[in-house]
Symmetry: C2
Subunit: 111 residues, 2 copies
Amino acid sequence: MTARVERFVEPALLLALQAGRSHGYELAERLADVVGVESVDYGNLYRLLRSLEQEGIVSSEWDDESEGHAKRQYQLTENGELLLEAWVDSLRHMDTRLAAFLRRYDERNPA
Amino acid sequence: MTARVERFVEPALLLALQAGRSHGYELAERLADVVGVESVDYGNLYRLLRSLEQEGIVSSEWDDESEGHAKRQYQLTENGELLLEAWVDSLRHMDTRLAAFLRRYDERNPA
DNA sequence: GGAGACATATGTGGTTGACATATATGTGTT
DNA sequence: AACACATATATGTCAACCACATATGTCTCC
């Protein structure tokens, strides 16, 4: 029984990308603590990245210059910035509701 | 684009029932502001109530004594109280993660 | 007796995410 | 060179969850 914010990975991803371009595998690890799980599911993350690219939220290109694996580097577009803002507004609102819920519980169930 | 806590109606419902027994239609209205929508979907709420009853989280009986419609009165069981506690723990944890997210955003995007 | 609120309930289809699987390259060890 | 393991990207599948539609009956008020 674990409470989850639906699609929370998406805003977390946008925030991570706001800090600078990166690729999927690294993002997954950077996201883990924000989202609050051991590790984000890679499959779904890559799917999300492609889907966001189709919507113009991120853009990408292959980076085969840096050593190691060829990586697809993603970065936020301007629309991505706007979407992040919208997420933040919505999450703030949700935080308010959540706080109200917890306050009500605590009032009825004093420590 | 609206952020949602998955199954948030469930803990809200349990909290409402902790305050005293009630029936579906009334609960739906009492829940609306906690959940943060104009009105909770009745169909899903009744389905949830029955499902919770099957799991021993709530118990119910028909009340045809009070005036008006026959209403199915629900009340929390002991297991229901425990489930509410579990929800609260989980939601508190989620609140922490959410606050961390918003703090990070605000740090990177000063007003 | 008709309109609209009250009260409970089932049907359905799209979205989401957990989990499984596939493929290929890079790195380090023996 | 062979092997294991980490890195990196990607698709398949299925159950859960929820928005929306629909159904049925009663009660109240004009």
